[in-house]
């Protein structure tokens, strides 16, 4: 049986263990809450981890599509990018996939049911996910800086406008400019 098939069969176990690894990064009380609370609106962090990791696992089984991978990684990384994690800590969960796979499929690997090539291919997929996750994390942080700038601009724009400190191009000038361009 191929690695993908075995992984698909052990999907539940894989996801439970991955989820556990993710919540272990939080203090014990929090980890308990993230695991216990099933209502997605009472526990949005738990929800995003669930959705993210099951999506990523599907991609690993079926093949990594960049667009989809970004989407599922984003579900998790967008949260971790604003939580108490350094960039390395925020993205460690992707790298955990290698150890996790070897843990869940230890028997199959020991018995030779999974070949070295298959493992190498899986690791390559993890590398690919890791590279995509750098983009996602950076995009999240960049968005935050963009938001800060926008907030400050929006706060001062009307004031500057009222204070007569902005000299905007008027409609009529704009139109005559366009006409001039046409000629």
């Amino acid at each position: 049986m191929s690695l993908e098939n075995v992984l698909d069969q052990k999907r539940e176990e894989f996801l439970i263990k991955w989820f556990q690894l993710m919540v272990d990064a939080y203090p014990a009380e929090t980890a308990k809450f993230l695991k216990r609370e099933k209502n997605p609106f009472a526990n949005p962090v738990g929800r995003s981890i669930h959705e993210g990791i099951s999506g990523i696992l599907d991609l690993l089984v079926r093949g990594v599509e960049h667009g989809k991978a970004s989407e599922f990684l984003d579900r998790i990384i967008r949260v971790r990018a604003v939580q108490d994690f350094s960039p390395a800590q925020a993205l460690a969960f992707v790298f955990d996939l290698r150890g996790l796979l070897r843990d869940v499929l230890v028997k199959e690997i020991d018995e030779g049911g999974i070949t070295a090539d298959e493992l190498a291919l899986f690791d390559a997929k993890v590398d690919e996910l890791a590279l995509i996750s750098f983009n996602v994390y950076t995009a999240c942080r960049e968005k935050l800086y963009e938001i800060k700038v926008e907030e400050i601009k929006n706060r001062s724009f009307r004031l500057l406008q009222k204070a007569g400190l902005l000299e905007e191009i008027s409609e009529t000038r704009e139109e005559s400019g366009e006409k001039g361009g046409d000629q």
């Binding site: 690894l21 272990d24 990064a25 939080y26 203090p27 014990a28 009380e29 929090t30 980890a31 809450f33 993230l34 609370e37 209502n39 997605p40 609106f41 009472a42 526990n43 949005p44 962090v45 929800r47 995003s48 967008r78 949260v79 604003v82 939580q83 108490d84 994690f85 350094s86 390395a88 800590q89 460690a92 969960f93 992707v94 790298f95 955990d96 290698r98 150890g99 070897r102 230890v106 690997i109 020991d110 999240c140 968005k143 935050l144 938001i147 800060k148 926008e150 907030e151 400050i152 929006n154 706060r155 724009f157 009307r158 004031l159 406008q161 009222k162 204070a163």
Partner: protein
């Protein structure tokens, strides 16, 4: 086979092993994006607040007075005597945990000290140590904790990570209002000069100039007249608002955020259009030019001081009653405190709508009526000509703002108004709206940019529910009746649910309102084409 180490075990720099110590022994680290700048000396001096100096929460030395501990403990003693509720809240919590996972900051951050019960324990543990026999004798065994400088700094960090939204109190079987614990803790912090500048600055401005921004009277008037021009360009109708007019029937007060910051400005245009259309005899005031009350986040006395000016102005102008715009904290202060704090407002009359004759019992005590109640009554009595199809480009959901929702029970009126001015409306899940509504994550004076990471965490539960209706029903507009919401939900949506905009309810009223003598409307107030009018600009050419 070689065991592959977990990524988290690979290097010391990577390791994120959460603290294994109990909360009392886990030190608080001030991390960027999670605390607000300290109050500036000049703002504290204007207000007569103690210990004015320039300082930063990341400084090792906070320049506290040498007897700071005595001041705080005496302050706590005095407040326990003054507020029976505080005494009860200190004593009766059994740490059942019902509130623990109800706080948006805990849900979004995962930091256990954001659990309401633990946040309250920060103060309660000191209370036990200093004011209870068991705590004095047994100390830590009885949950007591000495007030040290580290503990004091931890107070600052976590009591300015609470938005006083009161969601946790909804779930407390004993009715403990953790927001009130935060309110008292902030008062104590203020006794030795530890406020944040995003609060102290607006309070100083409001005290000096009448509004949080420090907009002077002539500039305030100019700004509103600018919107008069915008409305004329939109539908050809010239509105003539009055300012500081003695003898007007009604004084209208709204947060200054509506006057200067988009998208609140569109809500303000909606107010102007509505009042013009029904011929309301009202005036703006350039002195009581702020509905919001950041004094509420400083101390009871400061809240009273800022609230008083609205009533002083109503008295000076000789109006019959006050109509208040879409605001959050203004309503909490008016509805829960004003009557016994600055009241009775016996020089005013019980609000009666001059258009429908409806007497508003809800505002009997304070003589100040919520605009959404007023508008809902106009609609119910058929006094407005509305074309909800003008909002067909909007697919709307409604965010209950904490203060009008939990602070005054205003649930039905905004929904009634929205459903009369919009054709597309979808509710978010029940455990995220009405009395269980999730805070925007930026209330109680925390809507500043240096606090952005924390705001995004705190706003996650709200955004998560919006994402649900966005994905399920294509919702593209988050409507709300609070100025802080209008300022902070757009960045929150930008981060968590791109594609969802934010609008005040009266912006949508302004869109739908058919005004007498208006020219054909092709756009909404933002200049966006109305549904079916997407090509009209080309036709003009």
């Amino acid at each position: 086979m070689a065991k592959i180490p977990k990524a988290s075990e690979m290097a010391a720099t990577l390791s994120h092993i959460p603290p294994q110590t109990g909360w009392m022994d886990t030190p608080t680290e001030f991390k960027q994006g999670r605390w607000c700048y300290g109050a500036k000396a000049k703002n504290m001096e204007v207000l007569g607040l103690p210990n004015p100096r320039d300082w930063s929460p990341t400084d090792a030395d906070w320049k506290l007075p040498s007897n700071w501990k005595e001041i705080i403990l005496e302050g706590l003693r005095e407040r326990i005597g003054r507020f029976r509720s505080l005494r009860l809240f200190m004593d009766i919590c059994v740490r059942c945990g019902a509130c623990a996972d109800k706080c948006h900051f805990f849900i979004g951050s995962g930091d256990p000290k954001n659990m309401p019960v633990l946040r309250a324990e920060l103060l309660r543990s000191v209370y036990r140590k200093e004011f209870t026999t068991a705590g004095k004798i047994l100390g830590k065994l009885a949950g007591g904790r000495e007030l040290t400088e580290e503990v004091f700094k931890e107070w600052f960090y976590y009591f300015f990570q609470c938005t006083e939204c009161r969601r946790c109190s909804v779930f407390c079987p004993y009715g403990i209002d953790t927001a009130e614990i935060t309110i008292i803790a902030r008062e104590l912090l203020n006794l030795v000069g530890c406020n944040i500048d995003w609060i102290a600055g607006p309070v100083a401005n409001c005290y000096q100039n009448g509004n949080h921004l420090g907009i002077q009277p002539h500039a305030f008037k100019d700004m509103i007249e600018f919107f008069v021009d915008e409305i004329e360009a939109l539908n050809g109708i010239r509105i003539e608002p009055t300012f500081n007019r003695k003898g007007a029937e009604i004084l209208f007060i709204t947060p200054s955020g509506d006057v200067f910051a988009d998208p609140g400005t569109y809500t303000l245009m909606g107010y102007l259009m509505l009042f013009h259309e029904i011929g309301l005899d009202y005036t703006w005031s350039t002195y009581a030019s702020e509905g919001g009350n950041f004094g509420f986040f400083t101390s009871h006395e400061m809240m009273k001081r800022l609230n008083a000016k609205m009533y002083a102005e109503a008295k000076r102008l000789g109006v019959k009653w006050i109509l208040g715009g879409e605001c959050g904290h203004m309503w909490r202060v008016v509805n829960q405190y004003m009557d016994t704090m600055n009241g009775p407002a016996d020089f005013l009359e019980e609000p009666v709508s001059p258009i429908t004759g409806t007497k508003f019992d809800s505002a009997k005590g304070t003589k100040m009526l919520h605009l959404v109640e007023f508008t809902a009554d106009l609609i119910r009595n058929g006094k407005l000509k509305l074309d909800p199809s003008r909002n067909d480009h909007l697919n709307v959901t409604f965010h209950d703002s904490c203060n009008p929702a939990r602070g005054m029970g205003l649930f039905e009126e905004p929904r009634y108004v929205i459903q009369n001015v919009c054709n597309n409306f979808h509710e978010m899940p029940p455990n995220t709206i009405r009395e269980q509504t999730f805070c925007c994550g930026s209330g109680s004076g925390l809507n500043t940019d240096e606090f952005l990471d924390m705001r995004m965490r705190g706003g996650l539960p709200r955004a998560n529910a919006v994402k649900h209706v966005h994905d399920m029903f294509g919702v593209n507009t988050l409507s709300t009746i609070c100025a802080i919401d209008r300022a902070v939900l757009p960045p929150l949506m930008d981060y968590w649910v791109p594609g969802v905009g934010v609008a005040g309810v009266h912006e949508m009223v302004g869109n739908a309102l058919v005004m007498e003598g208006e020219t054909e409307r092709t756009t909404d107030m933002r200049g966006e084409p109305l549904a079916g009018m997407e090509d009209s600009e080309d036709e003009d050419i």
